[in-house]
Structures are given as structure tokens and as C-alpha cells.
Amino acid sequence: MGEKADVWQGTLALMILKTIEAMGPLHGYGIARRIEQTSGNLLSLNYGTLYPALLKLEQEGSIASEWGVSENNRKAKFYKLTRAGRKQLAQETRNWEQTTEILARFLSPSEDPA
């Protein structure tokens, strides 16, 4: 159980970072909606799980937050990437690409039996 949650948390953090990078400073609700959209609604996300993840990223210094006003004139807390966050995103993206590539090689039928 614990390990699974870690992996999930890890991917969630990556999705959050990528979303903020793509969209610029964004509030929690916006990030959740955007993740859902990007996943083509394949991912069913409990929006509430986002907040502890955001807190963790903030405690680790990858993102920073400040209060602002949303497009619909609602008061909201906006999250933006820090320099450390950008570095982390680049690093984790590379790691993730490498992992998926390796896994893809395992899972795809071997094309060239040497």
C-alpha cells in the first residue's frame, strides 16, 4: 500500500509541476481541472488529494504561493514554480521518460530477434 501511494504521489507531483509550468501561476482548483482535462478525463481525481501534495511541494521549496484574484473575480491562492521547482521538473521529466522508455521496451513485442 505504502509504496503504491508513493508512486502515485510522485506522479501527482510531476503532473502538478508540469501543469503550473504550462499554464503559469494557477490556483488549486485550476490545477485539478487542468490535470483532469489533460488526462482526457481518463484520470478520476479526488480534488482534495491535491492540497496535501501542493503543501508538500511548497514545503520542499519547488513551488511558492500567494493570494490573488481569479479570472471570475474570486479570491484564490495561486501557485507558481520556483527555480528549484523548474530544475526538479526537468530532472523528473527526464527520469520519467527514461522509465517509460525502458518499460516500453519490455512491454512491446520484440521486433528484431537478433
Binding site: G48, Y51, L55, Q59, N72, A76, K77
Partner: protein, 882 residues
């Protein structure tokens, strides 16, 4: 790096709870608002939109919960919560808290202070490198288990022994120093050349003694103690090479000892010089004046060293039967010489303090039991509301920790103060012999000890309510007025605790009683003379002016006759050694006209003036005392004590008999002219040795003590006494003026007995108080639990007297059991105490009976209060109350 940063933020977040909660609420509210807006735009009704948004969030409270867990460290937060709650609880019960904390602090203060002494005196008493390799080396004979070495024996041992890296000797001496304030006698020590190297001490300034510097003919050199250097030379570095006149003889200063240098056997010595023996007697094998100290080779045990020197002593005995017959040898750790006499006292005190701590802990435990009994409903409610047993337990643990932390903090702080007391209270002279006490303080070891006992208390105090929690059925607690099995369990446990407390109190009271009785007997021991109205002062005339026998005799006569003219003086006399000082300074005697096989008939030798016995108020049993006219021109005479008469002349009249030295040289033959009743020459608790009193005028010395019988309080005469001698003889040293009563009361034996009696007495008084309070608590609790029962009994016609009886009987039973167990334990523990007892046995019946009566009296007194309350219960109120 990143996890660490996160951890720091979470730790910091512990202190910003409120603000964060508000921000989180705002953030979630804005999240929901935005979602609701979107949902309405998508065509939902406002109510549906909000419901959907909350559902999608996964609930507001669960989200907050998950967020909180992440935002701080839940474990620490719980702990803080518990601590806050515990402190609130303890503050609500100020009475309980104060009593518990004070009792705990008292127990911890007592045991930590005593442990600090044990640490200073027993664990690390010697400030030298590798102190466990240092041993004392002694000769021994039938009379002296620890006899001094003679110089030739020392040289032979040094040459022949294979177990010592080095063997050195020291002996006390003193000098007269001319100062602007007059002639001042100053203690000093003569040592062999390698003495400081054996100890592992290097002078702070200048040099150590060279090898061979202790032989006759070497130049006069002296090493100063640090204190002397500061006091007499203002701490100037250029003292090295300077000359100082000690008893009119010039010495060159070659070194200054370091500040932390201590040598307990010669604590006050200011000057350290080498032996450089020249007098013929100093080269005799029968002249024992040196104390040996050696550093054993690595890997050699004390036993092996002892065996080695014993072999050498045997060899010397064969070689020199005349002087060395019966002269054995012994080796034991040097630390024994320094702290051997206080070790049994400290262990007894540590035991006493430990028992006190035990009683304090038991008392707090029973308080906690009463409290957890009265908190059953609270705990049951918290349990019913979902607090897990684990969480409740952690609550108890936290409460115990808070309690113990307060108690130990207070205890350690007060111990820090109490350990400073002895350095202020102990007289300087005695302190000089116990320099290890200067290191007294709360060092790491003492604090570790305090930590260990606090931990023990914390475990005990958290286990007690936890166990109680386990015993009591939690659901029972909710039932109104229920007093099921748990109440009884507690009452049984409480009674057992109180019995144990009473037993411990009995042990301490018996200990205190025995020590007190010992002290009383010690101070009232038969001395063989009247110690009251006796003043004394020591006189030292320089050898250069009073070295000749005739000069010393004249000095003595002049001083005595001058003092006898003083108003308030009845008589004055001279002795070479004051009574109640020590057994020793002995002579070997051989009786004329009896067979002799070279055995050592060892007797105390005292050289006293003609008026000595009458001045002391001693009792003449036979014959006569000598006269002032009996000097070197008259036949030699001696007065012996009864012990000598009894040992060597059983059933005979010793008057007229003669004895001399072991060779019966004609000059040494003396005739016995009188027998005096035994005078206590040694310390208060010592045995009477055979003693021979020679006329001072036939064996004079310019160093002697004057005893003065006064008609007024002797204390008031002391200043005039010294002044008169100084005035008439400005060239002699005058010192150690005191009264004989003070001498006895401040003697080390009396001092040690007195301090242990008072300390154990103090412990016992506190133990008595605590155990009686404990008994009161148990009986009062039992009365409060039995209110209804008593009400029923009274409603059915029980007399008030019967109610008294009911309660007092219970208390009496507990007390009786406690006293009996205590008496048995006290007798068992008595063996431990025997080393400190004087004149009483550990099973002294009057003491045991007195303790039982005392405790019984206080116990009945304590239980009378709740019994009275029980008897005054109004049956109607009692039946209505529950």
C-alpha cells in the same frame, strides 16, 4: 536536502496553527466557490452544484485532516497536546501537584547530593594519572596493622621488590617561619627523591627533586605548595632560586606545585623537602617513621604486590631478627588510605537516601492511584468518545513525564545548592584531609545518575495509572457511583504500598536511632580524665636554641610556671602528645629479670611533666606520680597505665619493677613508680593500649603541648594563653590553641559519627512524615469509600465508638505489619551498619522498641483524623449521598 527543508517547515508550522487553519479554510472555500460557479454555468441548481463540488473534493473535513497531517509532525503535535493537557490537569489539582513534586524533589535532592559525595570520594578520589596503580606500602606488627617503615627497611624493599615501578616515602614535619606577625609554625612534608614522580605530578614552576637529592649532604632545597606560593610570595614567578629560612635554616626554592595538586595524608603541607637523614636514630631499623607509596608495574595486582613485599619482609626478619621480628608487610590501594574511613559512612548514607527516594516514589504512586481512581469517569468518557487505549496511555506517560520533570528539576537544583554546603560547613583542617571533596559538584556522572532515577520514577508513575486502567473495566466507570472490583484492587495495592513505606521508615528510624545512640555513647565514653575546663596550646621551640635537653627542660619549666601565675589558671602541665589524639608513637620495652625472645612489647610512649596527671584529673591507682625534680640527674622512673599493668603484671604489683629498651641498655632502665587509670590516648572509638608515661624532664623535646586546668570557661582563656607564651618567648611557635572539649567534639571520629547520625536522622524524620502521610491517605480514602457502609452500620445502631474501632483497627493492622516487617529488615540491614556503630549492636532492643513505639504513636495519630470523620458521619446524609 529537500526532505530536511520540508521537515524544518513542518516543525516550524507547529507554532503557527491558527493562521494556517484559517488560510486552509479560505483556500478550500475559494476552491468550492470556483467549482460551484463552473457547475452552475454547466446548468446545475446551486444546491446540486455545491453538493457535487464537495463530493468531487472528497469532503472538506477529510481534506483538512490530510492537509493537517502533512502540514506538521503529528507525533510531536500529539505530544504537545498531551503535555498541554497534562499541565492543565496538574494546574487544576494544585494540591496534588505540589505535594507530588515536592516529595519527588526531596527524594531526588537527597539521593543526588549523597551520590555527588560518593562520586567525589569513592569513584574518583585521586587526582593523579592512573590512580589505581598507586598503593600504600606499610610494615605491620601485632599492634599496628599499618605501621610506618624504617629507613633501612625502605631502602631494602626498594632494592629487592620486583613489583613496583617505583617506591617512595614521605613523613610529616614542620617548620617555624619568622613572619612580621611573629613566629609561625608551618606544616611541611619530607619526601624521598622520586615522590612526585611516583604520584605523576610535575611542578608548575621550576623543577622536581633530582634523583639522589634525598641523601645526606645534598643542598637544602624546597618545593612550595601552590597556596604557599600565592600567600607568601604573592605568586611571583621569580621565586625559583630564592632562599627562604625555615626554622632558621636557609633553603633554596626549586619548584612550585600545580594548583590542583592534592595529597590528602599531608593536606596542609606548605613546604616539601627531601629526607636527607643525618641523625643516628633515623638509620635504625627499629625507627619507624616513614609512610610508603608505590606505583605498581602494569599487570601486577595488589595481591601480587602484597605477596612480594611479604617475602622481602620475611627475608629481612631472618637477616635482622633483633629489629625486624614480627615485622610483616602490607600493600593496599592508596585510595583506601584517603577515603577508607568515610567509605562505610557514604554507603550507609547512599542507602538511606535511596530508601527515602523509595518512600517518596511510593507516596507519589499512591497519590497517583487515588487520582486515577477519581478520574475513572473522565477516562471512561474519553474512551467512549473514541480515545484509544494507546492514546490514553500516552496521556498518562506524558503526565508522569511532566510531574517527574518538575520534580527532578527542582530536586537537582536544590542538590546543586546542598552539595555546596559541606565545603562551607566542614572545618578547614578536616577539609585539608579530604581534598577530594573540593571536586564536589554536579558533574556528568552525577547528572547521569539523576537522569537514571528520574527515568525510573517516570516509568513507575506512568505504569501505575496504566496498570490501573487495565485493571478497571472502562465501561464500569460510566456507571454512577460504581465501586466495583477496581476500588478494592486499589485499596489492597494502596495498603501494601503503605505497609512497605512504614517498613522502610522503620529501617531508617532504627538506623538513625542506632547512629544517634552511638554518637551519644562516643561523646560520653570514659576518657579517664575530666575533659571540661581544659585549655591546650602547642609550643615549638627552634632546634637551634632548644635542641639540647637542658634547654628544652628549661623552656618547659619556664612556660608552665609563667602560665600558672595567670588568673583563672589552676594548674598547667606538658605532654608530648595530647590525649584523645591517636594510639601510636610507641616504644618497645623489655622487662628486667624476665626471659626475652625478641618479641615486640609495644606501648604508647608519652613524655609528660610532673603535674600532668593532676591537671588532667586522672586517677592514681597505685604508687605515686613523679616530681618536677626528677630530671636527668635522678634515676629514671615511669608511670604506667592500668592496661600495661594488667597485660604484663597480671596478679602482681608492678611498683618497683623495671624495664628498658630491647637491648636493656643501662641508660634506658626505668623503675615503675605508679599506676594510673587508663587515659584515652587514641581516638574516641579506639581501644586502650598499654602506655608508659616518662617524666618530660628525663626525656625532653622542644616541641610539646601545654594543658591548662582553668577555673573559668577555658575558651575565654585561649587568647591570653597564647599571648603570654608569645610575649615571654618571642622565638617559639605557638599554635593549635583550643579547648580539650572542642578537640574531642571536633575530632574526625566525632565529626563523622555526628554527620552520619544527623543525616540519617534527617532522612528518618522525613521518612516518618511521608509514611505517616501515606497511611493517612490510605485510611482517609478507605473512609471516603466506605461512607455508605458506615452510614448503614450507624443507621442500624452502631455506636460511634464501634466506628472508631472499625477504622483504627484497619490502620493498626497496617501499621503493625509495617513495623514488624521493618524491624526484621532493620536487623538484617544492621550488619551493613555495624562498621559505624560504637557501643551498640544492630539489634539493640531499646532502640527497636523506641522506634516501634514512635511510629505506632504517629500512625494512630494520623489515622485518628479520618476515624473521627467516619464517626461523625450523619447516617442520613451518608445514605443520601450516593
Amino acid at each position: 536536502m529537500k526532505p530536511l527543508r520540508a521537515w524544518v517547515f513542518r516543525l516550524a508550522a507547529l507554532f503557527t496553527n491558527k493562521q494556517r487553519e484559517r488560510q486552509l479554510s479560505d483556500e478550500l472555500e475559494s476552491h468550492l466557490q470556483m467549482h460551484v460557479d463552473d457547475n452552475i454555468r454547466a446548468g446545475m441548481t446551486p444546491a446540486e452544484a455545491r453538493r457535487h463540488a464537495i463530493l468531487k473534493l472528497g469532503g472538506v473535513e477529510p481534506t483538512k485532516e490530510a492537509y493537517r497531517d502533512r502540514s506538521t509532525l503529528p507525533f510531536i503535535e500529539h505530544l504537545l497536546q498531551d503535555a498541554r493537557f497534562a499541565i492543565r490537569q496538574l494546574r487544576k489539582n494544585t494540591g496534588f501537584t505540589c505535594v507530588a513534586v515536592l516529595m519527588l524533589a526531596l527524594g531526588i535532592c537527597a539521593s543526588v547530593s549523597i551520590f555527588a559525595f560518593v562520586d567525589a570520594a569513592l569513584i574518583k578520589p585521586l587526582p593523579y594519572p592512573n590512580p589505581t596503580r598507586l598503593v600504600s606500602v606499610f610494615e605491620n606488627s601485632a599492634a599496628f596493622p599499618h605501621a610506618n617503615l624504617s629507613y633501612p627497611d625502605y631502602l631494602d624493599w626498594k632494592r629487592l621488590s620486583k613489583v613496583f615501578r617505583s617506591l617512595d616515602v614521605y613523613t610529616g614535619t614542620g617548620f617555624l617561619l619568622s613572619t612580621p606577625a611573629g613566629v609561625e609554625p608551618v606544616p611541611a612534608t619530607r619526601v624521598s627523591d622520586g615522590f612526585f614522580r611516583t604520584l605523576g605530578v610535575t611542578p608548575m614552576l621550576g623543577r622536581n627533586f633530582h634523583a639522589g637529592e634525598d641523601l645526606a649532604g645534598s643542598p637544602n632545597t624546597v618545593i612550595l605548595s601552590y597556596a604557599s606560593w600565592r600567600k607568601r610570595f604573592g605568586g611571583k614567578k621569580d621565586v625559583i632560586g630564592q632562599t627562604i629560612r625555615l626554622s632558621d635554616v636557609p633553603y633554596t626554592i626549586v619548584g612550585v606545585l600545580p594548583r590542583n595538586f592534592q595529597f590528602a595524608p599531608r593536606g596542609r603541607a606548605e613546604f616539601w623537602i627531601t629526607l636527607r637523614f643525618t641523625m643516628p636514630k633515623e638509620f635504625r631499623r627499629s625507627f619507624h617513621s616513614l609512610s610508603g607509596i608505590a606505583r605498581m608495574k602494569d599487570g601486577v595486582s595488589v595481591q601480587a604486590a602484597s605477596a612480594d613485599v611479604k617475602t622481602i619482609a620475611k627475608q629481612l626478619e631472618k637477616q635482622y631478627p633483633e629489629s625486624n621480628r614480627g615485622q610483616g608487610a602490607s600493600v593496599f590501594p592508596f585510595a583506601d588510605l584517603v577515603v577508607g574511613h568515610i567509605r562505610p559512612i557514604l554507603l550507609v548514607l547512599l542507602g538511606g537516601a535511596g530508601l527515602l527516594l523509595l518512600i517518596a516514589c511510593m507516596n507519589v504512586t499512591s497519590l497517583l492511584l487515588v487520582r486515577s481512581e477519581s478520574r475513572r469517569r473522565e477516562i471512561a468518557v474519553r474512551n467512549a468518545l473514541g480515545a484509544s487505549t494507546g492514546r490514553l496511555t500516552s496521556q498518562f506517560v506524558t503526565e508522569a513525564l511532566v510531574l517527574v520533570t518538575m520534580g527532578s528539576a527542582l530536586g537537582v537544583l536544590s542538590a546543586n545548592w546542598t552539595v555546596q554546603l559541606p565545603t562551607k560547613l566542614i572545618p578547614a583542617d578536616m577539609m585539608a584531609a579530604m581534598p577530594f571533596l573540593l571536586g564536589l559538584g554536579l558533574n556528568a556522572r552525577v547528572l547521569a545518575f539523576a537522569g537514571a532515577i528520574s527515568l525510573f520514577a517516570a516509568v513507575l508513575f506512568s505504569l501505575t495509572p496504566t496498570a490501573h486502567l487495565a485493571v478497571s473495566e472502562m465501561r464500569d466507570g460510566l456507571a454512577e457511583g460504581s465501586r466495583g472490583s477496581a476500588g478494592n484492587t486499589w485499596r489492597r495495592l494502596g495498603s501494601k504500598l503503605v505497609t512497605a513505606e512504614l517498613a522502610v521508615a522503620v529501617v531508617l528510624l532504627v538506623g538513625a536511632g542506632l547512629l544517634g545512640k552511638s554518637l551519644h555513647l562516643l561523646l560520653h565514653v570514659d576518657l579517664g580524665f575530666q575533659p571540661d575546663h581544659l585549655a591546650t596550646v602547642a609550643v615549638a621551640g627552634p632546634e637551634t636554641r632548644y635542641g639540647e635537653p637542658a634547654q628544652a627542660v628549661a623552656l618547659g619549666r619556664r612556660i608552665v610556671s609563667r602560665i600558672e601565675t595567670m588568673p583563672g589558671v589552676k594548674s598547667a602541665a606538658i605532654t608530648s602528645l595530647l590525649p584523645v589524639s591517636y594510639n601510636g608513637h610507641t616504644d618497645w620495652i623489655r622487662f628486667v629479670g624476665r626471659p626475652y625472645n625478641g618479641e615486640h612489647n609495644e606501648v604508647n610512649q608519652r613524655d609528660v611533666s610532673s603535674s600532668y596527671f593532676t591537671t588532667l584529673g586522672a586517677k592514681l591507682l597505685r604508687g605515686r606520680y613523679f616530681t618536677d625534680a626528677e630530671d636527668a640527674s635522678k634515676p629514671r622512673v615511669v608511670v604506667i597505665n592500668q592496661a600495661l599493668a594488667r597485660q604484663y603484671f597480671p596478679g602482681e604489683n608492678p611498683i618497683g619493677k623495671q624495664f628498658g629498651d630491647t637491648a636493656l641498655s643501662p641508660k634506658s632502665i626505668k623503675q615503675i613508680i605508679g599506676v594510673v587509670d587508663d587515659i584515652k590516648e587514641g581516638s574516641l572509638d579506639s581501644k586502650i593500649w598499654p602506655a608508659a608515661y616518662y617524666p618530660f624532664n628525663q626525656s625532653p623535646d622542644p616541641y610539646f603541648s601545654v594543658v591548662v586546668r582553668t577555673s573559668q570557661a577555658p575558651q575565654s582563656l585561649l587568647p591570653a594563653l597564647s599571648a603570654v607564651i608569645r610575649q615571654s618567648h618571642p622565638d617559639v611557635g605557638v599554635f593549635d590553641e583550643t579547648t580539650v572539649d572542642n578537640l574531642i567534639h571536633d575530632s574526625q571520629t566525632a565529626y563523622l559519627h555526628r554527620s552520619s547520625a544527623w543525616l540519617v536522622g534527617g532522612f528518618a524524620a522525613v521518612a516518618l512524615l511521608l509514611s505517616v502521610i501515606g497511611l493517612y491517605g490510605v485510611v482517609a480514602y478507605s473512609v471516603s469509600q466506605r461512607t455508605r457502609e458506615i452510614g448503614v452500620r450507624m443507621a442500624l445502631g452502631a455506636e460511634r465508638g464501634a466506628v472508631y474501632q472499625l477504622i483504627l483497627k484497619e490502620a493498626a493492622r497496617l501499621t503493625a505489619v509495617g513495623i514488624v516487617i521493618g524491624l526484621v529488615c532493620a536487623m538484617a540491614a544492621g550488619a551493613f551498619l555495624n562498621a559505624l556503630l560504637f557501643g551498640v549492636r544492630s539489634w539493640d532492643i531499646p532502640t527497636l522498641a523506641a522506634v516501634a513505639a514512635l511510629l505506632g504513636f504517629f500512625a494512630i495519630l494520623a489515622s485518628f483524623i479520618p476515624a473521627r470523620r467516619a464517626a461523625s458521619i450523619n447516617p442520613v446524609d451518608a445514605l443520601r449521598s450516593e
